[in-house]
């Protein structure tokens, strides 16, 4: 216990900076637009954050290892196409199928990275292209809108229990599962160890390759789940449905305080990061910033957050 407190003390600024930022942002936006602090708006904010959070959660596992997954947006879009194409025939099985395909894709890109020794950003850039291609071909390059009958299968996404939309419940379940995986399993510890120092982890007998492949499976699986949720919320599937989500997701992970160099981070931080991104987005909309121009802010936020959180001692030569 003592150790933990000592660590918190030394790292306290870095640890609490994201949460403080979030609270300050909420206050600023709340003062500007008092409507923002009403429970219904906050619930809306939370449900809008859910998809981003699920995507970011998946990629957190990979970033913890010191890698990156650039294929998540293509995976999510592909999953939405799968759901849209099969939900009429398979019913709820369509959602399972989409997530399962996500797992298989993650397995493949993980193997490409680990076995062929292709750097992760290039391997996932490539699998992202393959997935985009697959989504274009299966959807015949159009957006598929779901009919009335098919929409009846979507109530677990669109409906609500008590006053809380189901999307938020899904988000909470994802948070719980991911947190347990990351903080209370051997896989989570090993991931952190690999991220902190791969040669040391390898020398201690950690099966590095297996943990890495597992992380990519989780990343693609969660990305597919995010695509399923997105398809449910928009009642459609299209090869470009999640096209604008890659940058915000990675930004969410990094803004939350997970270092791009790996080893440091948690799912809670990603949650805070995703909320920051959402609040910033809403704040910009209130301020009247053009929706297309918001990418400028996210790009700058990403670079700034990476610059703050990165552990430079791990990369003597920055390339």
């Amino acid at each position: 216990m003592k150790n933990i407190f000592a660590k918190m003390g030394s790292d306290s600024l870095r640890q609490w900076l994201p949460l403080t930022t979030l609270l300050i942002l909420v206050c600023i936006v709340g003062v500007m637009q008092p409507v923002f602090l009403q429970p219904s708006t906050l619930l809306q904010l939370a449900s809008d954050t859910a998809v981003l959070f699920i995507l970011a959660t998946g990629v957190t596992f990979v970033i913890m290892l010191g890698g990156i997954d650039l294929s998540i947006q293509s995976m999510a879009s592909f999953a939405s196409v799968i759901v849209a194409l099969t939900v009429a025939r398979l019913g709820f099985g369509a959602f399972v199928l989409a997530v399962a395909i996500g797992g298989v894709v993650g397995l493949l890109s993980g193997l490409a990275h680990v076995k062929l020794k292709v750097p992760s950003f290039i391997a996932t850039l490539a699998t992202g292209g393959v997935l985009f291609s697959a989504a274009l071909v299966t959807s015949k390059e159009r957006s598929i809108t779901l009919g009335e009958v098919e929409r009846s299968y979507l109530t677990w996404i669109t409906g609500q229990v008590w006053v809380v939309p189901n999307v938020i419940w899904v988000g909470i379940v994802v948070l719980a599962i991911a947190h347990v995986l990351q903080a209370h399993t051997r896989f989570g510890r090993y991931s952190a160890a690999i991220g902190a120092g791969e040669p040391a982890a390898y020398a201690s007998g950690v099966k590095v390759d297996r943990q890495k492949v597992l992380a990519y499976i989780l990343s693609a699986g969660f990305a597919a789940l995010a695509g399923v949720i997105l398809a449910g919320r928009l009642a459609s599937g299209s090869p470009t449905l999640a096209a604008e989500l890659l940058l915000p997701s990675i930004a969410a992970v990094v803004v939350g305080g997970t270092a791009i160099t790996g080893g440091v981070g948690s799912i809670w931080r990603t949650l805070v990061g995703a909320l920051i991104i959402s609040v910033v987005r809403i704040g910009m909309t209130f301020l009247g910033v053009n929706i297309f121009a918001q990418n400028i802010v996210f790009g700058a936020v990403l670079i700034g957050a990476v610059a703050i959180t990165i552990d430079r001692s791990k990369i003597p030569i920055v390339k």
């Binding site: 062929l116 020794k117 750097p119 850039l125 297309f292 400028i296 790009g299 610059a307």
Partner: protein, 333 residues
């Protein structure tokens, strides 16, 4: 005149390396020739002059972009901002020349302005990368979307028709059968070859890719080289943006879509190593032609164009996997 003794002393330091180089250098070219033969067998039209022009036309933009990216990859870095810079420069060009949206009519004068903007984005890439010590793929991922956002903000969701005869002429007017754009791309290739082989910057780029710590110890200012290289790459992407705008006749926010992928495929397939220090602009030319001939062949065979991105993705993985030196049992992240 070099005496035999001088030749020996020159060659002596790394005799083995030269031999290995040769195989690595020729493999992509053999793939290209093989590919041409196969496609010709399937469809003899492949060798017609019209089809040749078509291939060069589709290869001119990836060539210019690939040249810029080659310099970055040679340093062992990566540049993901290609699409952002292409879009931003195409959009700005379309708004400065005679167009359907505003009353600007700068004509040829717009070209240096666009080149300056492309270089400026590259300069920012380099500056942020070396000053803040942010890895290049993160920096350029950020600037990719910053540039894209800026282009979108300028356009406001519209697209601008280009009416300028000079810009349109790059894609339409032909010289010796080939559009002027192709000649411009070849000029860029020549320029890049000179920079790569006959300037200090070119040597330094190879030195950085081969071993940055050694380069720094030898007195090379790695910061300056990195910033200069990113700036140079930005200028080449701007040329790519000009060609893209000329080809489409429009400036819109989607004009850059897909180019990052083609560019990286071309560089990597040509044989430039992602680890840096090996490869060059001519390799990228071969890579661009491999990608171009393959997609041309697929069109001739009736394969839908949406499949091509997937094929390129697989090519990237295959090429990188084959080019990685397994003897260096390093950590891959």
């Amino acid at each position: 005149m070099t005496t035999p003794i001088e030749q020996i002393t020159k060659r002596q330091p790394q005799p083995k390396r030269i031999r290995r180089w040769r195989v690595a250098t020729w493999a992509p070219l053999m793939v290209l020739v093989l590919l041409c033969i196969i496609v010709t067998f399937i469809n003899p039209n492949f060798l017609s002059f019209g089809n040749l022009v078509r291939i060069t036309q589709s290869a001119m933009i990836p060539l210019v972009l690939g040249i810029g990216a080659t310099f970055i990859v040679l340093m062992g870095s990566i540049d993901l901002s290609v699409e952002g810079v292409v879009t931003l420069s195409a959009v700005i060009l379309s708004m400065l020349v005679l167009n359907g949206a505003n009353s600007n009519n700068l004509g040829v004068l717009a070209v240096p302005i666009v080149l300056f903007i492309g270089s400026a984005v590259g300069f920012i890439n380099g500056l942020v990368h070396v000053r803040l010590k942010v890895p290049s793929f993160m920096t350029t991922l950020g600037t990719w979307f910053i540039a894209l956002g800026a282009a979108n903000a300028l356009l406001g969701g519209m697209s601008t028709r280009i009416n300028d005869p000079f810009i349109r002429g790059l894609a339409v007017v032909r010289f010796m059968g080939f559009p002027w754009g192709v000649w411009l791309a070849l000029f860029c290739l020549l320029l890049a070859l000179i920079i790569q082989n006959y300037t200090r910057l070119g040597r330094y780029i190879y030195a950085l890719g081969g071993g940055e710590d050694l380069a720094a110890l030898s007195g090379i200012s790695t910061f300056t080289v990195r910033i200069a290289t990113f700036t140079l790459a930005g200028a080449f992407y701007a040329v790519g943006g000009i060609l893209a705008a000329a080809q489409l006749g429009l400036g819109n926010a989607q004009i850059g879509t897909g180019w990052l992928f083609t560019t990286i495929t071309a560089v990597v397939v040509g044989g430039t190593s992602l680890a840096g220090g090996q490869g060059g602009v001519l390799q990228t030319l071969v890579g661009v032609l491999i990608v171009g001939v393959l997609s041309n062949g697929m069109v001739l065979m009736g394969v839908p164009s949406s499949v091509q991105i997937g094929v390129q993705g697989l090519m990237i993985i295959a090429a990188v996997a084959l080019s990685i030196d397994r003897k260096l049992n390093r950590i891959v992240k």
